[in-house]
Structure formats: C-alpha cells, structure tokens
C-alpha cells in the first residue's frame, strides 16, 4: 500500500474518531455540555490525537529503520567475490538498489509480471536489456549475485511494507478505540489534549536539534575520513592549494582561509561604517516620515538573493574597478574578478544587516539617557557619541560579529566576483578564492566521493563551521550581556 494512502487512511480514522469521541462524551452527559469536564471538541480532539499520533510515529520510525535493516540483510548475501578491487560494498549495494528499483518499475509498467521479475536469471535472461526496455538504463551487465540480491531486496522490502501497513493500521485503530472508550463526561480531555500539544511541540523542537546534530555528525565523520587519507598537518599548515584528481594534490587550508578573511575584512570595512552611520541617522536624526520610507528600503536590500549581488560584482563593479585600477588605469589589477570586487559587493550586501541590527540596538538605549545628556546642555552629536553609542557598543559589536560570520559563509558573490585562484597575496586587486567557493568546486563535477580531493570539502566545511560557530557564540554572548544591562 503506498505510504500516501496509509497516511490518508490514518487521518480519516482520526476524523471518524473525533466525531465518535465527541458524540460519546456528549451522550454520557445526556446531551448537556455543561456537565462535561471539558468542551465537547476536546473529547473529539483527544480521540483524533490518540488515533493519529502513535500511528504516525510508528510509520516514521519504520520508514527510517527499514532501509537499514534490508541493506544489512541483503549485503550479507553478497559474496566477497562480488566486490572487485576498485569497488566497495557501498557501490555494489547501490547497484543492487538500482536493479531492484528497475524491476519494481518494470513490474509497475506491466513489462514483467511479479513472478517473472522474481524468476529472472542472470545467466539465461538479459536483464540489462529487459530493464532497458522499461526505460531503466544500467551501466553494465548485471551479475548473478547482484540480481539475486536485488530480488531478495524486493522481497524483503515488500514484506516490510506489508508489516508496516498492518502495524500502522492496528496502532490507529487501537488508539481510536482507546480514546473512544475514555470519552466519558468526567474524563479530563482538555488536560490530555494539552499534554498532547506539548508532546507535538517537543517533537518539533527535538527534530530541529537532532537534524543539526546529524549535519554536524556527518561533517565530523567525513572530516575524520579525510584525515585518514590526507595528513592533518599538511591540511592546516601547507601554503599551497592545488588539487588534482589524478593524485599528488596539495590541499592547504591557509590560502583559502586567507582569501576568506581578506574579503570579509574588506566587506566589513565597507559595511560597518556605512551601516552604523545609516542606523544612527535613522534612529536619532530622521523624522518619522523619512524613517518610514528609508528603513523598509534598506531592508529590501537584505532580501536580494546573493546571486544577484554576484552578478552585480561580475558585470558592474569588476569592470568599473578595472577601468580605474586595471591596465588602462593604475595597472594594479589583472582582471575584473578580485578580492576588492567581491569585498566591496559583499560589503554592500551586509549594510542592511548591520544597519537594521544596530538600529534596533540604538533604539533600545533608554530615552532617559538622552534626556539626561540634553538636560546637561549636550548637543545631539555629543549625546550620541558620548552616551548613546557607548551604551549601545556591546550590542553593536555583537551585530558586527554576526555580520562577519555571514561574510565568512558567503559563497555566490565570491564565486562570481573574486575569481578561482587560491593565492596568498597582499594585493587586494589580485584574484583569490575562499573556503566556501572551493567547497563548491571540489564537490561539483564527477569527483569520486572517496578521494581526498572530494573529502577535503568536508574538512573545509568543518573548519568554516568552527570559525562561524565561535563568532556567533561570542556575538550572542555579547549581545545578551548587553540586554541584561537595561532590564
């Protein structure tokens, strides 16, 4: 039974349960809803909740666990001989899955009967051709072991699904019956629903946290795998980045980190003064009319996709800088793509980020501070420089650090604006590249995912993650400390 149908059936059962529970509770009170402990709809919700939630829990768990179980069972069937030198168990298993899917597809299309699919024999039938006719292209001929495993795979999956459907339906019906039985006028349905809602919210929150953990774990495992194939000391201290998929690559982090930091620093040099001054103007000087127009306009800048900024860097800022610093001008610049180009454009991207955070922080400085200063005969700019900004400083520093961690993680502007050469150079008009841009280029193309040249992407991602995490934690710590001051 397809999963979608299963879900719909469970939901329908929930709906029926709602009506039943509500009706039974009302009946137990003789139709007088004042005698009920809770509002009638709570009795309905109670039953619907008990029908749907456990059944869905079983469904999700089963869907997650079954593939692992089937994989583990089937891979035991494969003899070691099926793994030739240049393949691994993982690759063979993915062949098995592909063949199994192909057979499923052929059956669904009616090209094979279910029995024929299971009876196929690698020595007598040409499996590749049969599947090819169904529109499933395979890279090579199918060996007997793989075909066998694929057939076994199909059997196991089908049985698993059958059990799953049965279990889910039993859970739904059982929950429904349990809920309906409880629907009596004294039953505290309201409190139970409350607990159920809490459970739902806890599930959502833990899912968010668990996925984060999952992402970090996969980063960590792949990073460890990388360091097993490539020495960590080389990665952290080598001054050269020259990957070559033929082997003998040098994968030094430093040139990329240098490019990242150089571009980020230029971006912050642009974004911080402009963003901060804009925030001061908006929060202290601008009248309500100007503010009402300018603030949303600035925030529109924050909504522009970064690829658009990248195009702006490539097509406008790069050529503009070339005309001044390029061969016709000062001769410092070889091409439009350079650290300066990417840095300037990234700075423009960060302006609204800095200004809207700083604006909030400046506005949070109590009016009493300003009044106190004006009351002593200070001018507006004296008040801002000597009272408002010092009071807001920790928050502003926090905003700048958050902007910095965005700059470090930015990719598209760099890909289009900074060039692709990993280089340790002081000249801001040289092309350089960053950690993020190289992660993209190492994983695109037909890299072998088990080579150090591809795995290095995870080590790069991990380094970046550690840096931005550190910056964010530091920024949040500072921002929070500031909040406490006036509360």
């Amino acid at each position: 039974m397809p999963t979608l149908w299963l879900v719909l059936i469970v939901v329908a059962l929930g709906g029926i349960g709602f009506v039943l529970g509500r009706g039974r509770a009302l009946a137990s009170a003789g139709g007088d809803n004042r005698k009920l402990h809770s509002l009638p709809s709570y009795y309905g919700s109670n039953v619907a909740m008990k029908t749907i939630m456990p059944a869905m829990g079983v469904l999700v768990l089963w869907l997650i666990v079954q593939p692992f179980f089937v994989d583990a069972t089937v891979s035991k069937l494969l003899p070691d001989a099926a793994q030739s030198e240049d393949t691994t168990l993982g690759l063979v298993m993915s062949d098995v899955r592909r063949v199994a899917d192909g057979l499923d597809f052929a059956v669904a299309e009616g090209l094979l009967s279910p029995d024929e699919a299971q009876a196929l024999d690698a020595s007598s039938d040409n499996v590749r051709e049969t599947l090819g006719a169904a529109g499933v292209a395979l890279g090579s001929d199918v060996s007997a072991e793989v075909l066998n495993a694929a057939q076994r795979y199909r059997v196991l999956s089908a049985t698993g699904r059958l059990f799953m459907s049965a279990l889910v339906l039993v859970a739904a019906l059982g929950g429904c019956a349990w809920g309906v039985k409880n629907s009596h006028m004294d039953y505290r349905a309201r409190n139970v629903v409350e607990a159920g809602i809490e459970a739902l919210l806890v599930t959502a929150a833990s899912l968010a946290i668990l996925t984060t953990f999952g992402i970090v774990l996969s980063l960590i495992f792949n990073t460890i795998e990388f360091f097993q194939r490539y020495p960590a000391s080389e990665f952290f201290f080598s001054l050269v980045w020259s990957p070559s998929f033929g082997g003998g690559s040098e994968l030094g982090l430093l040139p990329l980190l240098w490019g990242t930091l150089y571009i980020s620093v230029i971006a912050l040099l642009v974004a911080v003064p402009i963003g901060l001054f804009a925030a001061i103007y908006l929060s202290e000087y601008a009248g309500p009319k100007v503010r009402g127009v300018a603030k949303p306009l600035l925030e529109v800048l924050a909504g522009i996709p970064t690829i658009v900024y990248g195009l702006f860097a490539l097509l406008t800022v790069g050529p503009l800088l070339m005309s001044v610093f390029g061969r016709e001008g000062l001769g410092w610049m070889q091409a439009g793509t350079a650290v300066m180009t990417a840095g300037l454009v990234m700075g423009i991207m960060l302006i609204p980020f800095v200004s809207s955070l700083s604006d909030d922080i400046i506005n949070a400085v109590p009016q009493a501070m300003r009044d106190g200063s004006y009351g002593l005969g200070a001018t507006q700019s004296e008040t801002i420089r000597q009272v408002v900004l010092p009071a807001a400083l920790p928050g502003i520093v926090g905003a700048i650090l958050l902007a910095a961690s965005r700059a470090i993680g930015e990719t598209m502007i760099v890909v289009l604006g900074a060039g692709a050469a990993a280089r340790l150079s002081m000249n801001p008009f040289d092309a350089m590249t960053t950690v993020t841009a190289k992660i993209v280029s190492q994983l695109t193309g037909d890299a072998d995912f088990s080579s150090p040249e591809a795995l290095v992407a995870f080590a790069l991602g991990m380094s970046l993650f550690v840096i931005t995490l550190g910056l964010n934690v530091f920024a949040l710590y500072i921002v929070r400390k500031y909040r406490e001051q006036y509360e």
């Binding site: 009493a368 106190g372 002593l376 005969g377 001018t379 010092p390």
Partner: protein
C-alpha cells in the same frame, strides 16, 4: 496637619529669576498648558503640584526648552530668565540647558563611572583647565550632592551600580557640576524609598542657598516640607500660586482646597 518650617525665612523679598507670561503648550492638537503666568524667585524652592496629567512636567520642561526635543510640542508666550527671553532666536537651547539644569523622575546615570558621570557636563562645556581642576569640580559637585562620603573610594566604579537613592543624588551632583543657576526637578523622589527621599529633600533645602530650585511633586507633604512657594496646576491651568503655607492652610480657590483635602486628584 502639614509642618511648615520655613515660614519666617520667606518674609524677605527675593529677586525674580524666571518670569513666565501667558505660556501655552500644544502637543499636536492637545492643549496641555493654558495661559500660565508665574514668577519664580531666586534662592527659593518652588513646588508644582497637581493631579497627574495636569501639565506640571510639560511646564517644567518649557523652562529649559527640553520640549524642543519633542517634535510635536509647540510653545507660545514669553519665558524670561533674568529678563531675557529664552525662546528668542538668538538663544542657544544647548547653552540654556547648561544654565538651567534638570533632574529627572527616574535616576538616569549614564553607563559610565561615577567620576565620568559628574565630569560629563564640565567636559562638554570646557569648564576645567586641566585634570586637577576637573577633579576638584567633580569633588565639589559630589559634596554638594551629599554623596561624596559614600563614593569617594570608588569614583571609578560604574554609576549604575549605586542604590536608587545614591543614583538620584549622583544625578543631582551631575546637574550641579555644570554650575547651573536654576535646577529643575521632575518628581525626583518618586522612585525612591522614604530614607533616600529624606536625604534628597535635605539636599534640596541645602541647594536653595545657591540656586533657584523648581520641583514637581505629587506628594503634598513633600511640597509642604521643602518649598517656600507652591503652584497648583489643574487640567493645564495654573489655579493658584503663592506662599506654600498659605496654599496649604488657607487656599483661595475651591479646586485647590478640594485637591489638598483629597477630593480631586
């Protein structure tokens, strides 16, 4: 019912420091102050009393042009300080506020050290020749604010770390440090406990020797204790203005009497 310790000192006639003539204040369309005229004497404590929302703070803020910082506020009429119109175009409101200091309802020390809080005004106005001079100004102001003994050992600790009463006296010291001629106080004790209130009241009586003090208060006992002159506001009008004793013992206007005896407020 009210103690009136200052009666015999009021007999002498003092110079007029501030004269207000026909002052009107509007917040947008709200008419907050209606045709108020009042003379405020030098070296005297003048109290503004009245039910909340009657315009006491608004009128007080006219006296040092703090209403300029509110966009929608509009002031009409004349206010003279030593005979000069403070709303004249030639008057710099920033300079004026150095001469007419202000202390607010809630203590509002800057998030700086105690020393820097007090030195703030003198630094802005370039009142000190050198560091030693500034030290002296700060010390003198803190002594006048009756807080020197409590803070002299921790001048560089943050001003926000003091207790509420200490913070308010610090704010008074900060205002005094710019050598104002008039000190405006908007309910300076409303956020303080009774002991701190008593300390600040004592300080106000001290300050009267050098300054003209105008204090807004919602406590009639406080007005009776610290002031020599009292002005009673009601719905934006100045209902009655006169010697404090007279207002509290023998008010002429029935609204004043009603307020003092607790029938309106």
């Amino acid at each position: 019912m009210y103690d009136a310790p200052n009666s015999e000192r009021d007999v002498e006639v003092k110079d007029i420091k501030i004269t207000a003539q026909g002052v009107q204040v509007y917040y947008g369309d709200t008419h907050a102050i209606k045709d108020v005229s009042v003379d405020i004497e030098d070296k005297t404590v003048t109290a503004f009393i009245g039910p909340s929302g009657c315009g006491k703070s608004t009128f007080l803020r006219c006296l040092n042009r703090m209403n300029d910082t509110i966009d929608i506020a509009r002031v009409e009429g004349n206010i003279l300080l030593d005979g000069e119109d403070i709303y004249d175009k030639r008057v710099d409101p920033v300079q004026l506020r150095a001469k007419v200091g202000m202390v607010f309802q809630k203590p509002n020390p800057f998030p700086k050290s105690i020393y820097d809080n007090v030195a703030y005004g003198p630094r802005i106005h370039g009142m000190a020749k050198n560091k030693a001079d500034l030290d002296e100004i700060v010390e003198r102001a803190l002594k006048r604010g009756a807080i020197w003994n409590e803070v002299k050992d921790r001048l560089h600790a943050p001003g926000t770390g003091l207790s509420g009463g200490q913070q308010q006296r610090l704010c008074i010291a900060r205002a005094v440090a710019t050598e104002p001629e008039v000190l405006l106080m908007d309910e300076p004790c409303s956020a303080l406990d009774p002991i701190a209130t008593a300390q600040v009241e004592e300080l106000i009586d001290e300050l009267r020797r050098d300054y003209s003090v105008v204090i807004v208060t919602h406590s009639m006992q406080q007005a009776a204790r610290v002031s020599q002159k009292t002005a009673f506001f009601h719905l934006g009008n100045l209902v009655e203005f006169g010697v404090t004793d007279k207002i509290f013992t023998n008010p002429t206007d029935p609204r004043t009497e009603a307020y003092i005896t607790g029938r309106i407020g």
